[in-house]
Structures are given as C-alpha cells and as structure tokens.
Symmetry: C2
Subunit: 326 residues, 2 copies
C-alpha cells in the first residue's frame, strides 16, 4: 500500500505540472509573466489537494477535478499578491513579492487577473451543481476579503478578544479551506451529509492551520518556514499568541505587551524577551491545545465517508499539518 | 407613448435605488463603507441598462434581471477603483477617488470585494444558462484586465498603431459592454442569433463609446464631463486622437507630438497648442467618422429583434451616446 505522503506528493506533482503550463501562452506577457511567476512559487498546494481528495471521497476521479483544483490555487495566489502589497512584504517563501519584483500597479492587476482566470478554470470541469459551486467559491472569496479587512482593523485596536480573532481567521483562512472541500464534494455530486462533513473538515482544519501558522512564527525554523521568525511580533500583528498573552498577562508583562501595540511592533533585539513572556504565560501550550481542539473537530464528521482510505487520508493530512514546521 | 429617455431614466432610477441599499447592512464597515461610497457615485448606469434591455429584448421581465444588472455595475466599479489607483487619479466625477479619500490598501481590498459581490449577485437571478452566463461574465473580466495591462504597456511605447489601439479598447471597454448584452440575452434564454446580435451591439457600441470618450477629452465641457479637459494629453495617454495625430503628422507637428511621449505628457499651458495640432490634422473629424462607423456596425444586426420598440430603443441609445457631452 502506498503511503499517504506518496499519494499527496503524486497529486501535488500533477498540480505543479499543470500550474507550470497554464499561463504560458497567454498575452500580454506584461500581465501573465508576473502572474506565472507567482503561481509557480513553490508551495504546499494544500487547497487544490483538498479539492481533489474531497472530490475523490465522493467518488469522482482526480482527472475530472484538476481544473477546479487549479482554480482554488489561483484564488489563493490572488490573495497572496494583494495581501503582500497591503502588508508591504518584500519576500514570500524566500522570493521577492510581485510588487517588489515589478511594481504595485502590476501587482494589483496581476492579482485581479489571477482571480479572473480562477473563475475561468472553475467552470471548466463542472457538469452538475454549477450554481452551488460558483456560489460556494464566491462565498469563500467574499469572506477572504472581509477577513483581510478585519485583520487590518485589528492592527489598530487594543482590545481584540480571542473570539474576535477566531471569527477573523474563520473568514481569512478557514473559509477558503472550507470552500475547497465543499466544491470538491459538490463537483463529485456528493450527498448532502458528505458535503457537510467535508466542508466542516476544511473549516476546522483551516482554523487549526492558522493557529499553527501563528505558532510557527515563534517556534519555527527560519529556512524551512520561509518567513522571518518573530515577524508577527516585529510587525505587531494580532496573532493567537499575542491576544492570548495579552488576556493572560498582568503587571509588567501586560505593560510590555501593550507597548507592542503602541509602537506597532517590536525591535528585533527584543524578540527573545517577548518569547520568554509567551513561554512564561503558557501561550504556546494554549495554542497547541487549540490546534488539537480544532483538529479533532475537523475529524469528527469524517466517519460518514464510505472508504476507509479516504477517512485515513484526511486524518493523516490533518496530523501532518499540525506537526508541520513550514 | 413614453419617450426612450423616460424609459431609460425609469430603469436607471430602479438601478440607483437598488444600489443604494445593497451594501448597507454588510460588515465590516471599514470595507463596505468605502465600497458603498463608490457604488453610489452618480453615473450613467449604462452597463446595467444594457443587461436589462437585452434581457427584455428576448422576452424577460426587468424584475428578473436586476441582480444581474447590479452585478455588472459592481464589476465596473471594481475596475474604476483599481484603475484609479494605477492612474494615480485624485478625483472621478467630481468626487475623491477611494484611494485618496481612504488609502491604497483600502482601495485594493474594496475593489476586490466589489468583484466578489458582483459574482454573488450574478448567480442570484440565473435559472438557465448558468455556465454560459458565468463564463461570459468571466471572459469580460479577463479581457478588462488584459486591456488595462495593454493600456499601461502602450504608455511606454512610441509606436502604437491605430489597430493596436482598437484591439486594446475592445478588451478594456468593449468586452464589458459586449458581455452586458450577452448575459442579458442569455438570462432571458434568447435564441442564438439574438444573443449574437445583442453581443455585437454591445461590442461595437463600446468601441464607439470609448472613441467618443477620447474625443470629449478635447471637445467636452469640464463640469459636465466630470474630468479635467485635456487630461489625456496632460497625462500623455495614447488615445485615438493622439495615435491618429501621430500617424498623420509630419515635420514640426510630429516633433511636438513625439515630445509628449518623451515627456510623458504636456503642461497645462500647452493644451491650446496641441488642440490646434489636432484640429489642423483633422483628427477630431477622423474620430467622429470612426464613432459613426462603429455605431452603424452596432446597429446592423438588431433587425433580428422581434419588437420594433426594442430595436428603436437600442438605436436611440446608440445615438444618445454619440451625441453625449459627458
């Protein structure tokens, strides 16, 4: 029997292969060149994988879901390109961001066209449930925009609660993985309960994934993670760790955490000091517990899936993401 | 019998009324506030009108096409918000642009969410031809992005030909009006020939409309037009007039026109001088001839429409646009 990693890697290779040619012949090059650069950036291809395996879990062949799988990857890339402008990020996964390699105007338009081509691909494979699939995809897009807006709002606020944070990442991150599973299941014309179970899997997996991302900002390895360790603290981002720390802290710790908000971030040499505050307050442990909590919620409904191999794959995938270092 | 202007105005009012409430209850306000500001900017609502009357021409009631009509208006607004960032425009129709009233990051995200909500509205009314309608809408979006990219490319080039210019505005402007007519006709489940005739009407109308827009930059009235007269020359844009002038000019005129490209525009006090070059070379006449040519092409296929009142409305609309001053 093949290992799950091998199955994942096989499908990831298929996605990579198709991504490598999809924009090559399109004109104008001034637009599709930078778009091609971003879609070929190495990545986990988690979202297309969710589409493919959700479709498979309700009986569809992989080959009938590739265009839809590519579609969600392009949607993801659209969010990355525009978010990187907003965050003024210079690099992503050790490569220059589009607005740094070219310019902001190019990056705006590249994001736009990636979204346009995403819709183009989305409708290609659909044979049933057209309206439901386009609606689910669009709902994911709307929520991503709302989540990004909330994230920007939170940067300016002192009093963001953990439940507000969860609400935000549901929109910014989890709505997208939920949508991937949902449209995969709809593409394969899955039963209502299957669509629901897979959607929930995607949703809770997304929340767990984002908290893990927040955690990796502190405990990750810079080379593997592809982002600067401590970057969230340096930029003063309202992550799970920060909000949890603020809620738990008193006295001097609280004062120092409030300074992060006031100064819109910390200096690099203060990183170890803040890491210690996090450790002392037990926020790393809390994050791990939350991640486990949402992972368990993700897995809860999967028993409805017919084949053991599908249930096992999704379980393996969820645990791999928890244990990931990048 | 009602005048065509009255029929147009009635439907425009319906569109305005619906636009005024559509985003009001949505959260977060940081996102939908600026989005609401832009969709409520006064405008001709030409694109929704094309959807509504194309749907009517194949037998649908207006009331069954409003969501689709609003959808194309939001798509149009998405392009305006992002284009205004790229053009660094301070005002549009005498109001501050979104990125000036708020900031660039807000404007990027506002454009994105307008596009998202456009897709949301698009699928609401559809009962037939789902896939065709979403594909046509998406094709319009892809072409708008490509057209905008070409427009940016042309700014840096000396040798843009008139046929390249027509190719660009087909994508940047005409693809959208073509799409509006097409999805209106598809929404009403029109016959293949009706869909084709209406699509062509929208396409050629769009080309005529854009050349008229270029012309108004020189002959328009600043208050009515809502944009600075001569703005295209001041910014050094490759309009129909400029490209036509460059093709026709010799000697000193050619030298002065090439200076516009080199200096990326002209100074305001040079405007009268360049207007005289345009007049002497007869480019205003050429523009008027082209506008008439494309208007006639637009009307050519309309005889297939069943009702005289529909044919007459589209004819009236085309001629109103030619004669417009804003």
């Amino acid at each position: 029997m093949k290992s799950f990693l091998k199955i994942y890697t096989e499908q990831k290779s298929q996605v990579d292969k198709k991504l490598s040619v999809i924009l090559k012949k399109r004109e104008p090059k001034s637009l599709y060149g930078p778009a091609d650069y971003i879609i070929q950036s190495p990545g986990k291809r988690l979202r297309p994988i969710l589409v493919l395996f959700s479709a498979k879990a309700v009986g569809l062949n992989f080959k009938d879901a590739y265009n839809t799988a590519l579609s969600v990857e392009l949607l993801h890339d659209f969010t990355l390109v525009h978010d990187d402008i907003m965050d003024n990020a210079d690099t992503r996964r050790n490569r220059l961001t589009v607005h740094k390699k070219w310019d902001t105007n190019t990056a705006i338009l590249v994001g736009d066209v990636l979204l346009a081509v995403a819709y183009e691909l989305l409708t290609k494979d659909i044979k049933k449930n057209e309206k439901k699939i386009v609606s689910a995809f669009t709902k994911g897009l709307v929520e991503v925009c709302e989540g990004q807006s909330l994230d920007k709002d939170y940067e300016l606020r002192k009093d963001v609660s953990l439940s507000e944070y969860i609400f935000m990442i549901q929109k910014k991150t989890a709505a997208m993985s939920e949508m991937c599973c949902k449209i995969g299941a709809l593409l394969g014309d899955g039963k209502k309960e299957e669509v629901k179970a897979l959607s929930n899997y995607g949703k809770y997996l997304g929340i767990a994934f984002q908290i893990q991302d927040d955690l990796l900002d502190i405990v990750g390895d810079e080379n593997e993670f592809g982002k600067k360790i401590g970057g969230d603290l340096i930029e003063g981002k309202k992550t799970f760790l920060f909000i949890n720390a603020l809620e738990k802290s008193k006295g001097i710790s609280k004062k120092k955490l409030l300074e992060v908000i006031k100064n819109k971030g910390i200096k690099e040499h203060e990183l170890e000091f803040y890491k210690k505050i996090y450790t002392d307050l037990g926020v790393l442990e809390s994050a791990k517990n939350e991640i486990e909590h949402y992972t368990n919620k993700a897995l809860l409904g999967l028993k409805i899936l017919k084949k053991k191999e599908d249930r096992d794959f999704f379980t393996w995938l969820a645990y791999s993401l928890i244990k990931r270092t990048n």
